[in-house]
C-alpha cells in the first residue's frame, strides 16, 4: 500500500471548490506549509479552513484568504494579538468587511470535535464554554451537579498534516511539540494528506512509536524541513 505522491501539487490537485480542509500546526510548529502553498497555487475556492490560527506564527493561511479562496474559517486563535498588526491582516480585514465567515471554539472543544469525527462519535458534552458566548445556540445539560454544552463532531473533507518521518504506508511519526493537531486531524479527514520530512520503507519505523496509524493517511508527500524561528506577534 504505497501512498507516496510525487509532489505537493499532485497531492492537492483534486481538491474541489467548496471543500473543507483541516490544517494542523500550533503557530509555527508542525504547520504543513508546503501543502498550504500548493493549495494557493491550485486555486480551489469557497473553502472552509479548520485550523488553530489565521496568521499568527504562520502567514501562509492568510495567503489563502488574501487569494480569495476561503469562504469560512473555523478556529480557536485566529487573530494577531497586536491590534495594529491585525488591522493589516487579510483575515481580520475580511472578517471586519463581512467577507469571511468565522466560527471560533475553545481549543479543547475545537480538537475534540475533530477527534469525535474521526472516532465515529456524533457529539459530546463538555464543560468548557458554559456561561460564555460559546454556549449561544447550544444545548446545555446537567450531569451530576455540573453543566455541560453539547458539541457535535466536525468532519473535514481533507486534512493537511505534518510529520517528521513516515513510511510508504502512511504511518506517521511526529517530533516534539510539532505533533499537536496532527493525530486527530489525520483521523478526522476523509482524505488526509501528510507532508513529511523523511519517508522510509515499511519496517523501518518502530511500531510502538508511531503517532498516526497509516489507516488514517491517504497521501504522503516528501517536503523539505522548514527553517524558521518560532515567534508570534
Amino acid at each position: 500500500m504505497d501512498k507516496v505522491y510525487p509532489s505537493v501539487d499532485e497531492a492537492v490537485a483534486d481538491i474541489p471548490d467548496g471543500a473543507s480542509i483541516a490544517i494542523a500546526g500550533f503557530f509555527t510548529a508542525g504547520t504543513p506549509v508546503p501543502l498550504i502553498r500548493a493549495l494557493v497555487r491550485q486555486g480551489a475556492k469557497d473553502l472552509t479552513v479548520i485550523c488553530m490560527q489565521m496568521g499568527p506564527g504562520n502567514e501562509d493561511i492568510n495567503h489563502l484568504v488574501a487569494n480569495k479562496q476561503v469562504k469560512k474559517a473555523i478556529c480557536n486563535y485566529p487573530f494577531y494579538r497586536s491590534a495594529s498588526r491585525g488591522a493589516s491582516s487579510p483575515t481580520e480585514m475580511a472578517v471586519r468587511a463581512g467577507e469571511l465567515e468565522m466560527e471560533v471554539f475553545p481549543m479543547g472543544t475545537f480538537i475534540e470535535k475533530l477527534r469525535a469525527a474521526g472516532a465515529g462519535i456524533a457529539a459530546f458534552y463538555t464543560p468548557t464554554g458554559v456561561g460564555t458566548v460559546v454556549e449561544t445556540g447550544k444545548e446545555k445539560r446537567k450531569f451530576g451537579d455540573r453543566e455541560y454544552l453539547l458539541e457535535e463532531a466536525l468532519k473535514p473533507d481533507y486534512a493537511f498534516v505534518y510529520a517528521y518521518k513516515s513510511d510508504r504506508m502512511g504511518n506517521l511519526v511526529c517530533h516534539k511539540t510539532a505533533r499537536n493537531y496532527t493525530p486527530e486531524m489525520a483521523a478526522a479527514g476523509k482524505i488526509t494528506i501528510a507532508a513529511v520530512e523523511s519517508i522510509v520503507e515499511p519496517g523501518q519505523l518502530d511500531g510502538d512509536a508511531v503517532h498516526v496509524p497509516g489507516v488514517y493517511v491517504q497521501r504522503v508527500v516528501k517536503v523539505d524541513r522548514p527553517a524558521y524561528f518560532p515567534s508570534i506577534d
Partner: protein, 228 residues
C-alpha cells in the same frame, strides 16, 4: 472609581515570584500567556511540573538563542527546552488532561475578574471585532479544567480603570473559577463572603487598593505586605 495618583506596585517579575510562592511542591501547573509565563523563571529546581497546552509535560526554561529547536515551543510560541522526564502528546490529549482535572493550578492573565471569581480574558470589545469571535485559545478549557485558577494581572488598565469588577463587562472566559488574584498592588482571595484583601505591595495601603477596585474589599485580619 479611578485613583487620582498612579500607585507604584510590584514589577511583573515580582508578581510572578509571588505566584510561584503559591504553587505547591509536587503539583502540575499550566502557565498562560503574559505575566503567568514569567512564573517559570522562579520555579527552577522546585518539584513542580509545567504543562504546555501545545502538548508537552515538564517544559523547561526558555531556550537560549543557540539552543532553539523549531519543533519545541510553549503555548506562547516561545522556544523552550526539555527537562529530564519531559514528554510529548497531541493537542487533543493535552486538553483531555486539562479538562480532565489534571492541572493542579492554572495561572492565567485576565482583562477583568469579578467579585464572584468570574474571569474575562479572551476578548477585548474595544478592538471592535464581532462579539462571538476572538482568540479563545486554551483559556476557557484551562479556566474550567484546572483545580485552582490563579489570575496574575495588573491591578488597573493602562487607562487606570479597575480590572477587578462587581460584574465583568467583557465577554467571560468562565464563571466563578478564580480563587486568587495576584496584581502589582495586592493579593486578593475570592471567597463566598466576597473578595478578601490578603496582602498589599510595599508602600501601598488597603485604602489605596480599594480606591482602584470596584467591589468592596473585605480586609483580612492578617493583612500583610506581599510575601516574596
Amino acid at each position: 472609581m479611578c485613583a487620582d495618583k498612579k500607585l507604584k506596585g510590584l514589577s511583573r517579575e515580582l508578581m510572578a515570584l509571588r505566584v510561584a510562592n503559591e504553587l505547591e511542591d509536587g503539583s502540575y501547573v499550566n502557565l498562560g500567556i503574559g505575566i503567568p509565563t514569567l512564573v517559570s523563571d522562579w520555579i527552577e529546581g522546585r518539584d513542580i511540573i509545567l504543562q504546555a497546552e501545545v502538548g508537552m509535560l515538564n517544559t523547561g526554561p526558555l531556550a537560549t538563542q543557540d539552543r532553539v529547536e523549531q519543533d519545541l515551543i510553549n503555548a506562547s510560541c516561545q522556544p523552550v527546552t526539555e527537562l529530564p522526564g519531559s514528554c510529548y502528546f497531541s493537542e487533543c490529549e493535552s486538553f483531555a488532561m486539562i479538562r480532565g482535572g489534571y492541572m493542579d493550578t492554572a495561572v492565567l492573565g485576565a482583562l477583568q475578574v469579578s467579585e464572584k471569581g468570574d474571569l474575562a480574558g479572551w476578548q477585548n470589545p474595544e478592538r471592535g471585532l464581532p462579539e462571538d469571535i476572538g482568540n479563545i485559545g486554551g483559556s476557557m478549557d484551562l479556566a474550567v479544567g484546572a483545580r485552582k485558577v490563579i489570575v496574575a494581572m495588573m491591578h488597573v488598565t493602562n487607562e487606570g480603570e479597575p480590572k477587578i469588577r462587581t460584574e465583568c463587562t467583557y465577554p467571560l472566559t468562565a464563571s466563578g473559577v478564580v480563587t486568587l488574584i495576584v496584581t502589582d498592588l495586592a493579593v486578593i482571595s475570592v471567597t463566598p463572603r466576597g473578595l478578601v484583601l490578603e496582602e498589599v505591595a510595599p508602600g501601598v495601603t488597603a485604602e489605596d487598593v480599594q480606591s482602584v477596585t470596584e467591589p468592596r474589599l473585605i480586609i483580612s485580619q492578617d493583612l500583610a505586605e506581599i510575601r516574596l
